[in-house]
Symmetry: C2
Subunit: 279 residues, 2 copies
Protein backbone atom coordinates (compact mmCIF):
# COMPACT_ATOMS: atom_id res chain seq x y z
CA UNK A 1 0.00 0.00 0.00
CA UNK A 2 1.32 3.45 -0.81
CA UNK A 3 0.11 7.00 -0.52
CA UNK A 4 -2.10 8.53 -3.26
CA UNK A 5 -0.32 11.81 -2.61
CA UNK A 6 3.08 13.27 -3.45
CA UNK A 7 5.85 13.52 -0.86
CA UNK A 8 5.19 17.25 -0.55
CA UNK A 9 1.45 16.70 -0.08
CA UNK A 10 2.06 14.15 2.66
CA UNK A 11 4.52 16.49 4.36
CA UNK A 12 1.90 19.23 4.40
CA UNK A 13 -0.83 16.81 5.47
CA UNK A 14 1.34 15.53 8.33
CA UNK A 15 1.67 19.10 9.63
CA UNK A 16 -2.10 19.53 9.43
CA UNK A 17 -3.06 16.17 10.91
CA UNK A 18 -0.66 16.74 13.78
CA UNK A 19 -3.00 19.57 14.78
CA UNK A 20 -6.12 17.37 14.76
CA UNK A 21 -5.01 15.00 17.52
CA UNK A 22 -6.59 16.07 20.79
CA UNK A 23 -5.86 16.35 23.61
CA UNK A 24 -2.21 16.88 22.87
CA UNK A 25 -1.45 18.16 26.36
CA UNK A 26 0.18 21.59 26.44
CA UNK A 27 0.03 22.20 22.70
CA UNK A 28 -2.33 23.96 20.37
CA UNK A 29 -4.62 21.34 18.88
CA UNK A 30 -8.10 21.02 17.46
CA UNK A 31 -9.61 21.90 20.82
CA UNK A 32 -6.91 24.06 22.44
CA UNK A 33 -5.47 27.47 21.62
CA UNK A 34 -2.88 29.64 23.28
CA UNK A 35 -3.70 33.35 23.58
CA UNK A 36 -1.67 34.58 20.63
CA UNK A 37 -0.89 31.29 18.95
CA UNK A 38 -3.97 29.63 17.63
CA UNK A 39 -5.10 26.73 15.51
CA UNK A 40 -5.56 28.83 12.37
CA UNK A 41 -1.96 30.05 12.58
CA UNK A 42 -0.78 26.46 12.24
CA UNK A 43 -3.03 25.76 9.24
CA UNK A 44 -1.75 28.93 7.60
CA UNK A 45 1.85 28.02 8.47
CA UNK A 46 1.46 24.61 6.84
CA UNK A 47 0.01 26.12 3.65
CA UNK A 48 2.79 28.72 3.63
CA UNK A 49 5.49 26.06 3.86
CA UNK A 50 4.01 23.90 1.09
CA UNK A 51 5.67 25.42 -2.00
CA UNK A 52 9.17 24.94 -0.57
CA UNK A 53 8.35 21.32 0.28
CA UNK A 54 7.68 20.69 -3.41
CA UNK A 55 11.35 21.40 -4.15
CA UNK A 56 12.27 18.13 -2.39
CA UNK A 57 14.47 16.45 -3.57
CA UNK A 58 15.66 18.74 -6.37
CA UNK A 59 16.83 21.63 -4.18
CA UNK A 60 19.30 21.13 -1.32
CA UNK A 61 17.89 20.62 2.17
CA UNK A 62 19.15 23.72 3.98
CA UNK A 63 17.89 26.33 1.53
CA UNK A 64 14.62 24.39 1.20
CA UNK A 65 14.23 24.51 4.96
CA UNK A 66 14.85 28.25 4.98
CA UNK A 67 12.21 28.83 2.29
CA UNK A 68 9.73 26.58 4.08
CA UNK A 69 10.18 28.58 7.30
CA UNK A 70 9.86 31.88 5.45
CA UNK A 71 6.62 30.65 3.89
CA UNK A 72 5.42 29.37 7.25
CA UNK A 73 6.01 32.76 8.86
CA UNK A 74 3.27 34.54 6.89
CA UNK A 75 0.78 34.47 9.74
CA UNK A 76 0.48 36.34 13.01
CA UNK A 77 1.16 33.49 15.41
CA UNK A 78 4.93 33.49 15.06
CA UNK A 79 6.76 30.18 15.18
CA UNK A 80 4.22 27.51 14.39
CA UNK A 81 6.10 24.61 12.80
CA UNK A 82 9.86 25.29 12.83
CA UNK A 83 10.56 22.06 14.68
CA UNK A 84 7.94 20.01 12.86
CA UNK A 85 9.34 21.00 9.46
CA UNK A 86 12.89 20.34 10.68
CA UNK A 87 11.74 16.86 11.66
CA UNK A 88 9.75 16.10 8.51
CA UNK A 89 12.18 17.52 5.94
CA UNK A 90 15.00 14.93 6.04
CA UNK A 91 12.32 12.23 6.06
CA UNK A 92 10.81 13.82 2.95
CA UNK A 93 14.19 13.66 1.21
CA UNK A 94 14.52 10.02 2.24
CA UNK A 95 11.01 9.32 0.92
CA UNK A 96 11.74 11.10 -2.35
CA UNK A 97 14.82 8.87 -2.68
CA UNK A 98 12.57 5.86 -2.14
CA UNK A 99 14.31 4.88 1.12
CA UNK A 100 12.10 6.05 3.96
CA UNK A 101 13.94 4.06 6.61
CA UNK A 102 16.23 4.91 9.48
CA UNK A 103 19.17 4.18 7.19
CA UNK A 104 17.72 6.29 4.38
CA UNK A 105 17.17 9.23 6.72
CA UNK A 106 20.69 8.87 8.09
CA UNK A 107 22.07 8.94 4.56
CA UNK A 108 20.20 12.22 3.96
CA UNK A 109 21.58 13.71 7.19
CA UNK A 110 25.14 12.58 6.44
CA UNK A 111 25.03 14.08 2.97
CA UNK A 112 24.22 17.57 4.23
CA UNK A 113 26.74 20.30 3.46
CA UNK A 114 27.99 23.59 4.85
CA UNK A 115 25.50 25.31 2.52
CA UNK A 116 22.74 23.34 4.24
CA UNK A 117 24.00 24.56 7.61
CA UNK A 118 23.91 28.14 6.31
CA UNK A 119 20.34 27.62 5.07
CA UNK A 120 19.36 26.29 8.48
CA UNK A 121 20.85 29.30 10.25
CA UNK A 122 19.20 31.69 7.81
CA UNK A 123 15.83 30.19 8.65
CA UNK A 124 16.19 31.74 12.12
CA UNK A 125 16.08 35.17 10.46
CA UNK A 126 12.46 34.55 9.44
CA UNK A 127 10.95 33.73 12.81
CA UNK A 128 11.64 33.88 16.56
CA UNK A 129 12.46 30.40 17.84
CA UNK A 130 12.88 29.63 21.52
CA UNK A 131 16.43 28.38 22.03
CA UNK A 132 18.90 28.09 24.87
CA UNK A 133 22.02 30.19 25.16
CA UNK A 134 24.89 28.41 23.45
CA UNK A 135 27.65 26.91 25.62
CA UNK A 136 30.42 29.36 26.58
CA UNK A 137 32.86 29.91 23.75
CA UNK A 138 30.31 28.92 21.11
CA UNK A 139 28.63 32.33 20.82
CA UNK A 140 29.70 32.60 17.17
CA UNK A 141 27.44 29.64 16.44
CA UNK A 142 24.40 30.90 18.34
CA UNK A 143 21.53 30.11 15.99
CA UNK A 144 19.97 33.45 16.90
CA UNK A 145 22.73 35.06 14.79
CA UNK A 146 20.88 33.63 11.77
CA UNK A 147 22.61 34.29 8.47
CA UNK A 148 25.31 36.30 10.27
CA UNK A 149 26.78 33.00 11.40
CA UNK A 150 27.47 31.97 7.79
CA UNK A 151 31.15 33.03 7.76
CA UNK A 152 31.77 31.08 10.98
CA UNK A 153 30.09 27.98 9.56
CA UNK A 154 32.19 28.21 6.41
CA UNK A 155 35.45 28.86 8.29
CA UNK A 156 34.90 25.87 10.53
CA UNK A 157 33.60 23.76 7.63
CA UNK A 158 30.49 22.73 9.59
CA UNK A 159 27.79 20.80 7.78
CA UNK A 160 24.20 20.72 8.97
CA UNK A 161 24.89 17.25 10.27
CA UNK A 162 27.78 18.68 12.34
CA UNK A 163 25.49 21.39 13.69
CA UNK A 164 22.90 18.83 14.74
CA UNK A 165 25.53 16.69 16.45
CA UNK A 166 26.52 19.62 18.63
CA UNK A 167 22.90 20.04 19.80
CA UNK A 168 21.91 16.40 20.07
CA UNK A 169 22.29 16.24 23.85
CA UNK A 170 20.01 19.22 24.48
CA UNK A 171 17.59 19.11 21.56
CA UNK A 172 15.23 16.23 20.89
CA UNK A 173 14.99 16.90 17.17
CA UNK A 174 18.75 17.13 16.71
CA UNK A 175 18.99 13.86 18.65
CA UNK A 176 16.65 12.25 16.11
CA UNK A 177 18.68 13.65 13.22
CA UNK A 178 21.91 12.10 14.42
CA UNK A 179 20.42 8.75 15.46
CA UNK A 180 18.29 7.88 12.41
CA UNK A 181 14.98 9.11 13.82
CA UNK A 182 14.34 6.14 16.11
CA UNK A 183 11.50 7.74 18.06
CA UNK A 184 9.82 8.97 14.89
CA UNK A 185 9.87 5.53 13.28
CA UNK A 186 8.66 3.93 16.52
CA UNK A 187 5.75 6.34 16.72
CA UNK A 188 4.97 5.82 13.02
CA UNK A 189 4.72 2.08 13.61
CA UNK A 190 2.47 2.67 16.61
CA UNK A 191 0.18 4.89 14.54
CA UNK A 192 0.05 2.33 11.73
CA UNK A 193 -0.70 -0.54 14.15
CA UNK A 194 -3.30 1.47 16.07
CA UNK A 195 -6.98 1.52 15.09
CA UNK A 196 -9.61 4.22 14.80
CA UNK A 197 -9.52 7.74 13.37
CA UNK A 198 -6.05 9.09 12.60
CA UNK A 199 -6.34 12.08 14.97
CA UNK A 200 -6.98 9.73 17.89
CA UNK A 201 -3.98 7.63 16.91
CA UNK A 202 -1.84 10.76 16.70
CA UNK A 203 -2.95 11.89 20.15
CA UNK A 204 -2.08 8.48 21.63
CA UNK A 205 1.32 8.47 19.91
CA UNK A 206 2.00 11.93 21.27
CA UNK A 207 1.14 10.93 24.83
CA UNK A 208 3.28 7.80 24.54
CA UNK A 209 6.25 9.86 23.32
CA UNK A 210 5.73 12.42 26.08
CA UNK A 211 5.70 9.62 28.67
CA UNK A 212 8.84 8.16 27.12
CA UNK A 213 11.38 11.02 27.25
CA UNK A 214 11.55 14.51 28.80
CA UNK A 215 10.55 17.08 26.17
CA UNK A 216 13.57 19.25 25.31
CA UNK A 217 11.42 22.24 24.38
CA UNK A 218 10.07 22.20 27.94
CA UNK A 219 13.66 21.98 29.19
CA UNK A 220 14.60 25.03 27.11
CA UNK A 221 11.58 27.13 28.03
CA UNK A 222 11.45 25.98 31.68
CA UNK A 223 14.08 23.56 32.99
CA UNK A 224 15.02 19.93 33.06
CA UNK A 225 13.20 19.22 36.33
CA UNK A 226 9.96 20.58 34.84
CA UNK A 227 10.40 18.43 31.75
CA UNK A 228 10.99 15.39 33.93
CA UNK A 229 7.85 16.08 35.97
CA UNK A 230 5.84 16.49 32.76
CA UNK A 231 7.07 13.10 31.67
CA UNK A 232 5.95 11.57 34.96
CA UNK A 233 2.53 13.16 34.65
CA UNK A 234 2.28 11.97 31.03
CA UNK A 235 2.98 8.44 32.23
CA UNK A 236 0.20 8.68 34.76
CA UNK A 237 -2.18 9.94 32.06
CA UNK A 238 -1.10 7.25 29.61
CA UNK A 239 -1.56 4.55 32.26
CA UNK A 240 -5.02 5.86 33.12
CA UNK A 241 -4.01 6.93 36.63
CA UNK A 242 -4.97 10.52 35.87
CA UNK A 243 -7.34 12.06 33.35
CA UNK A 244 -5.62 13.13 30.15
CA UNK A 245 -8.04 16.02 29.58
CA UNK A 246 -7.28 17.38 33.04
CA UNK A 247 -3.55 16.97 32.41
CA UNK A 248 -3.97 18.89 29.14
CA UNK A 249 -5.78 21.76 30.84
CA UNK A 250 -3.15 21.88 33.60
CA UNK A 251 -0.25 22.18 31.16
CA UNK A 252 -1.98 24.99 29.28
CA UNK A 253 -2.64 26.77 32.58
CA UNK A 254 1.00 26.31 33.62
CA UNK A 255 2.25 27.58 30.27
CA UNK A 256 4.07 24.34 29.58
CA UNK A 257 4.28 23.43 25.90
CA UNK A 258 5.94 20.10 24.99
CA UNK A 259 6.63 21.26 21.45
CA UNK A 260 9.36 18.78 20.60
CA UNK A 261 7.03 15.87 21.24
CA UNK A 262 4.51 17.44 18.86
CA UNK A 263 7.24 17.80 16.24
CA UNK A 264 8.12 14.12 16.53
CA UNK A 265 4.43 13.27 16.10
CA UNK A 266 4.34 15.25 12.86
CA UNK A 267 7.34 13.25 11.64
CA UNK A 268 5.64 10.00 12.62
CA UNK A 269 2.46 10.97 10.77
CA UNK A 270 4.50 11.72 7.66
CA UNK A 271 6.15 8.30 7.75
CA UNK A 272 2.82 6.56 8.37
CA UNK A 273 1.14 8.45 5.50
CA UNK A 274 3.93 7.55 3.08
CA UNK A 275 3.54 3.93 4.13
CA UNK A 276 -0.14 3.96 3.23
CA UNK A 277 -1.98 5.13 6.36
CA UNK A 278 -5.48 6.05 5.17
CA UNK A 279 -7.29 9.06 6.57
CA UNK B 1 -2.42 45.13 0.80
CA UNK B 2 -2.14 41.81 -0.98
CA UNK B 3 -1.66 38.20 -0.02
CA UNK B 4 1.83 36.79 0.61
CA UNK B 5 0.61 33.53 -0.93
CA UNK B 6 -0.13 32.33 -4.45
CA UNK B 7 -3.68 32.00 -5.76
CA UNK B 8 -3.48 28.22 -5.31
CA UNK B 9 -2.24 28.57 -1.74
CA UNK B 10 -5.06 30.94 -0.85
CA UNK B 11 -7.59 28.60 -2.47
CA UNK B 12 -6.30 25.74 -0.31
CA UNK B 13 -6.14 27.93 2.78
CA UNK B 14 -9.72 29.10 2.22
CA UNK B 15 -10.86 25.46 2.25
CA UNK B 16 -8.96 24.89 5.49
CA UNK B 17 -10.00 28.08 7.25
CA UNK B 18 -13.61 27.41 6.35
CA UNK B 19 -13.31 24.40 8.67
CA UNK B 20 -11.98 26.45 11.60
CA UNK B 21 -15.04 28.67 12.03
CA UNK B 22 -17.20 27.28 14.82
CA UNK B 23 -20.01 26.80 15.43
CA UNK B 24 -21.00 26.52 11.79
CA UNK B 25 -24.40 25.02 12.60
CA UNK B 26 -25.04 21.66 10.95
CA UNK B 27 -21.63 21.35 9.33
CA UNK B 28 -18.40 19.65 10.26
CA UNK B 29 -16.15 22.25 11.83
CA UNK B 30 -13.33 22.52 14.32
CA UNK B 31 -15.60 21.33 17.11
CA UNK B 32 -18.16 19.18 15.26
CA UNK B 33 -17.94 15.91 13.36
CA UNK B 34 -20.50 13.74 11.63
CA UNK B 35 -20.23 9.99 12.22
CA UNK B 36 -18.45 9.08 9.00
CA UNK B 37 -17.45 12.52 7.79
CA UNK B 38 -14.97 14.12 10.08
CA UNK B 39 -12.69 17.12 10.35
CA UNK B 40 -9.60 15.23 9.18
CA UNK B 41 -11.35 14.18 5.99
CA UNK B 42 -11.75 17.83 5.06
CA UNK B 43 -8.09 18.65 5.76
CA UNK B 44 -7.06 15.67 3.65
CA UNK B 45 -9.50 16.68 0.91
CA UNK B 46 -8.03 20.18 0.77
CA UNK B 47 -4.47 18.85 0.51
CA UNK B 48 -5.60 16.39 -2.16
CA UNK B 49 -7.14 19.15 -4.27
CA UNK B 50 -4.11 21.43 -4.02
CA UNK B 51 -2.04 20.22 -7.01
CA UNK B 52 -4.92 20.76 -9.44
CA UNK B 53 -5.47 24.26 -8.08
CA UNK B 54 -1.91 25.13 -9.09
CA UNK B 55 -2.89 24.66 -12.74
CA UNK B 56 -5.01 27.82 -12.53
CA UNK B 57 -5.05 29.70 -14.90
CA UNK B 58 -2.99 27.67 -17.38
CA UNK B 59 -5.33 24.69 -17.64
CA UNK B 60 -9.03 25.06 -18.52
CA UNK B 61 -11.52 25.27 -15.67
CA UNK B 62 -13.57 22.11 -16.20
CA UNK B 63 -10.69 19.62 -16.38
CA UNK B 64 -8.99 21.42 -13.48
CA UNK B 65 -12.16 21.01 -11.45
CA UNK B 66 -12.29 17.31 -12.28
CA UNK B 67 -8.68 16.80 -11.17
CA UNK B 68 -9.25 18.80 -7.99
CA UNK B 69 -12.22 16.61 -7.10
CA UNK B 70 -10.30 13.43 -7.89
CA UNK B 71 -7.48 14.60 -5.61
CA UNK B 72 -9.98 15.58 -2.94
CA UNK B 73 -11.53 12.13 -2.99
CA UNK B 74 -8.45 10.38 -1.56
CA UNK B 75 -9.88 10.12 1.95
CA UNK B 76 -12.56 8.00 3.54
CA UNK B 77 -15.15 10.69 4.24
CA UNK B 78 -16.54 10.89 0.71
CA UNK B 79 -17.62 14.26 -0.62
CA UNK B 80 -15.90 16.87 1.47
CA UNK B 81 -15.45 19.95 -0.69
CA UNK B 82 -17.15 19.45 -4.07
CA UNK B 83 -19.27 22.56 -3.62
CA UNK B 84 -16.54 24.62 -1.97
CA UNK B 85 -14.11 23.95 -4.81
CA UNK B 86 -16.83 24.68 -7.37
CA UNK B 87 -17.33 28.03 -5.65
CA UNK B 88 -13.68 28.92 -5.24
CA UNK B 89 -12.42 27.81 -8.66
CA UNK B 90 -13.90 30.52 -10.93
CA UNK B 91 -12.82 33.08 -8.33
CA UNK B 92 -9.30 31.66 -8.51
CA UNK B 93 -9.28 32.10 -12.29
CA UNK B 94 -10.52 35.66 -11.84
CA UNK B 95 -7.78 36.30 -9.25
CA UNK B 96 -5.12 34.81 -11.52
CA UNK B 97 -6.34 37.19 -14.24
CA UNK B 98 -5.93 40.05 -11.76
CA UNK B 99 -9.65 40.88 -11.78
CA UNK B 100 -11.13 39.40 -8.62
CA UNK B 101 -14.42 41.27 -8.93
CA UNK B 102 -17.97 40.30 -9.72
CA UNK B 103 -17.31 41.32 -13.32
CA UNK B 104 -14.06 39.37 -13.46
CA UNK B 105 -15.75 36.24 -12.13
CA UNK B 106 -18.59 36.67 -14.62
CA UNK B 107 -16.06 36.92 -17.45
CA UNK B 108 -14.54 33.61 -16.29
CA UNK B 109 -17.97 31.96 -16.19
CA UNK B 110 -18.96 33.30 -19.60
CA UNK B 111 -15.75 32.07 -21.18
CA UNK B 112 -16.36 28.45 -20.14
CA UNK B 113 -16.69 25.92 -22.95
CA UNK B 114 -18.35 22.60 -23.69
CA UNK B 115 -15.09 20.92 -22.64
CA UNK B 116 -15.44 22.63 -19.26
CA UNK B 117 -18.96 21.24 -18.96
CA UNK B 118 -17.61 17.76 -19.74
CA UNK B 119 -14.90 18.18 -17.08
CA UNK B 120 -17.55 19.23 -14.57
CA UNK B 121 -19.68 16.16 -15.32
CA UNK B 122 -16.64 13.87 -15.14
CA UNK B 123 -15.92 15.16 -11.63
CA UNK B 124 -19.11 13.38 -10.52
CA UNK B 125 -17.44 10.07 -11.43
CA UNK B 126 -14.91 10.60 -8.61
CA UNK B 127 -17.26 11.08 -5.68
CA UNK B 128 -20.90 10.71 -4.63
CA UNK B 129 -22.57 14.10 -4.54
CA UNK B 130 -26.07 14.62 -3.19
CA UNK B 131 -28.20 15.99 -6.04
CA UNK B 132 -31.87 16.20 -6.94
CA UNK B 133 -33.43 14.24 -9.74
CA UNK B 134 -33.30 16.29 -12.94
CA UNK B 135 -36.54 17.74 -14.31
CA UNK B 136 -38.55 15.38 -16.51
CA UNK B 137 -37.13 15.13 -20.00
CA UNK B 138 -33.67 16.21 -18.86
CA UNK B 139 -32.49 12.75 -17.74
CA UNK B 140 -29.72 12.79 -20.35
CA UNK B 141 -28.17 15.68 -18.45
CA UNK B 142 -28.42 14.14 -14.98
CA UNK B 143 -25.06 14.97 -13.40
CA UNK B 144 -25.02 11.50 -11.88
CA UNK B 145 -24.32 10.18 -15.40
CA UNK B 146 -20.87 11.74 -14.98
CA UNK B 147 -18.69 11.40 -18.08
CA UNK B 148 -21.42 9.41 -19.82
CA UNK B 149 -23.23 12.68 -20.38
CA UNK B 150 -20.39 14.01 -22.52
CA UNK B 151 -21.98 13.13 -25.91
CA UNK B 152 -25.21 14.85 -24.88
CA UNK B 153 -23.32 17.97 -23.78
CA UNK B 154 -21.47 18.07 -27.08
CA UNK B 155 -24.57 17.43 -29.19
CA UNK B 156 -26.44 20.23 -27.48
CA UNK B 157 -23.37 22.50 -27.45
CA UNK B 158 -23.75 23.22 -23.73
CA UNK B 159 -20.99 25.15 -21.98
CA UNK B 160 -20.43 24.96 -18.23
CA UNK B 161 -22.06 28.37 -17.99
CA UNK B 162 -25.15 26.93 -19.77
CA UNK B 163 -25.18 24.01 -17.32
CA UNK B 164 -25.06 26.36 -14.35
CA UNK B 165 -27.87 28.50 -15.77
CA UNK B 166 -30.13 25.45 -15.89
CA UNK B 167 -29.52 24.79 -12.17
CA UNK B 168 -29.46 28.35 -10.90
CA UNK B 169 -33.00 28.25 -9.53
CA UNK B 170 -32.42 25.13 -7.43
CA UNK B 171 -28.70 25.34 -6.58
CA UNK B 172 -27.18 28.15 -4.57
CA UNK B 173 -23.72 27.74 -6.07
CA UNK B 174 -25.02 27.72 -9.64
CA UNK B 175 -26.99 30.83 -8.73
CA UNK B 176 -23.73 32.52 -7.67
CA UNK B 177 -22.02 31.43 -10.89
CA UNK B 178 -24.62 33.05 -13.11
CA UNK B 179 -25.02 36.23 -11.05
CA UNK B 180 -21.39 37.23 -10.48
CA UNK B 181 -21.07 35.73 -6.98
CA UNK B 182 -22.96 38.51 -5.16
CA UNK B 183 -23.34 36.62 -1.88
CA UNK B 184 -19.68 35.55 -1.90
CA UNK B 185 -18.44 39.10 -2.40
CA UNK B 186 -20.85 40.42 0.24
CA UNK B 187 -19.59 37.85 2.75
CA UNK B 188 -15.97 38.60 1.83
CA UNK B 189 -16.55 42.28 2.58
CA UNK B 190 -18.19 41.36 5.90
CA UNK B 191 -15.21 39.20 6.84
CA UNK B 192 -12.76 41.96 5.90
CA UNK B 193 -14.70 44.59 7.86
CA UNK B 194 -15.15 42.33 10.89
CA UNK B 195 -12.61 42.18 13.71
CA UNK B 196 -11.03 39.38 15.73
CA UNK B 197 -9.65 35.99 14.74
CA UNK B 198 -10.46 34.87 11.21
CA UNK B 199 -12.32 31.69 12.30
CA UNK B 200 -14.74 33.80 14.37
CA UNK B 201 -15.31 36.09 11.42
CA UNK B 202 -15.95 33.09 9.17
CA UNK B 203 -18.48 31.66 11.63
CA UNK B 204 -20.32 34.98 11.77
CA UNK B 205 -20.34 35.30 7.97
CA UNK B 206 -21.71 31.77 7.71
CA UNK B 207 -24.53 32.47 10.16
CA UNK B 208 -25.38 35.71 8.36
CA UNK B 209 -25.55 33.89 5.01
CA UNK B 210 -27.65 31.10 6.51
CA UNK B 211 -30.06 33.69 7.92
CA UNK B 212 -30.17 35.42 4.54
CA UNK B 213 -31.31 32.68 2.13
CA UNK B 214 -32.62 29.10 2.39
CA UNK B 215 -29.70 26.68 1.91
CA UNK B 216 -30.22 24.73 -1.32
CA UNK B 217 -28.28 21.71 -0.05
CA UNK B 218 -30.85 21.45 2.75
CA UNK B 219 -33.60 21.73 0.14
CA UNK B 220 -32.04 18.89 -1.87
CA UNK B 221 -31.40 16.58 1.07
CA UNK B 222 -34.65 17.45 2.93
CA UNK B 223 -37.11 19.90 1.35
CA UNK B 224 -37.74 23.55 0.81
CA UNK B 225 -39.86 23.92 3.95
CA UNK B 226 -37.02 22.53 6.07
CA UNK B 227 -34.55 24.93 4.43
CA UNK B 228 -36.89 27.82 5.13
CA UNK B 229 -37.27 26.82 8.79
CA UNK B 230 -33.48 26.56 9.12
CA UNK B 231 -33.20 30.09 7.79
CA UNK B 232 -35.70 31.32 10.37
CA UNK B 233 -33.80 29.59 13.15
CA UNK B 234 -30.50 31.02 11.85
CA UNK B 235 -32.05 34.48 12.02
CA UNK B 236 -33.05 33.92 15.62
CA UNK B 237 -29.50 32.77 16.44
CA UNK B 238 -27.93 35.68 14.58
CA UNK B 239 -30.18 38.15 16.36
CA UNK B 240 -29.34 36.62 19.74
CA UNK B 241 -32.87 35.33 20.34
CA UNK B 242 -31.60 31.75 20.57
CA UNK B 243 -28.22 30.30 21.45
CA UNK B 244 -26.10 29.54 18.40
CA UNK B 245 -24.38 26.59 20.07
CA UNK B 246 -27.75 25.01 20.85
CA UNK B 247 -28.88 25.65 17.27
CA UNK B 248 -25.71 23.96 16.04
CA UNK B 249 -26.28 20.88 18.20
CA UNK B 250 -29.91 20.69 17.08
CA UNK B 251 -29.04 20.72 13.38
CA UNK B 252 -26.47 17.96 13.86
CA UNK B 253 -29.04 15.91 15.82
CA UNK B 254 -31.62 16.48 13.08
CA UNK B 255 -29.14 15.51 10.34
CA UNK B 256 -29.50 18.89 8.66
CA UNK B 257 -26.37 20.07 6.89
CA UNK B 258 -26.43 23.53 5.26
CA UNK B 259 -23.54 22.68 2.97
CA UNK B 260 -24.14 25.35 0.33
CA UNK B 261 -23.78 28.09 2.92
CA UNK B 262 -20.45 26.58 3.99
CA UNK B 263 -19.34 26.54 0.34
CA UNK B 264 -20.17 30.23 -0.03
CA UNK B 265 -18.15 30.93 3.12
CA UNK B 266 -15.13 29.20 1.61
CA UNK B 267 -15.49 31.41 -1.46
CA UNK B 268 -15.74 34.49 0.74
CA UNK B 269 -12.60 33.53 2.66
CA UNK B 270 -10.72 33.09 -0.62
CA UNK B 271 -11.71 36.58 -1.79
CA UNK B 272 -10.83 38.11 1.60
CA UNK B 273 -7.42 36.35 1.66
CA UNK B 274 -6.57 37.57 -1.85
CA UNK B 275 -7.49 41.07 -0.76
CA UNK B 276 -5.04 40.93 2.13
CA UNK B 277 -6.93 39.46 5.07
CA UNK B 278 -4.25 38.48 7.59
CA UNK B 279 -4.54 35.30 9.61
Amino acid sequence: MSSPRTVAQDATLALLLEMTGTPKPGNVDRHHDHDDLRFEHFLTGAVGAAPALRDVPDAPLGPTFRRAIEGMSHQRGGNTQFGAILTVLPLAYAAAGDDLTSEGATAVVESTTVADAVGFYRAFDAVDVAVDDPPEGLGDLDVRRGGDAAPTLRERDLTLSDVMERSADVDGIAAEWVAGFPRVFDAAAAIADDTGPVPDRAARAYLEALADEPDTFVTKTHDRATAERVRERARAARDGDTDVATFADELVAEGINPGTTADLTAGALFVALRRGLEV
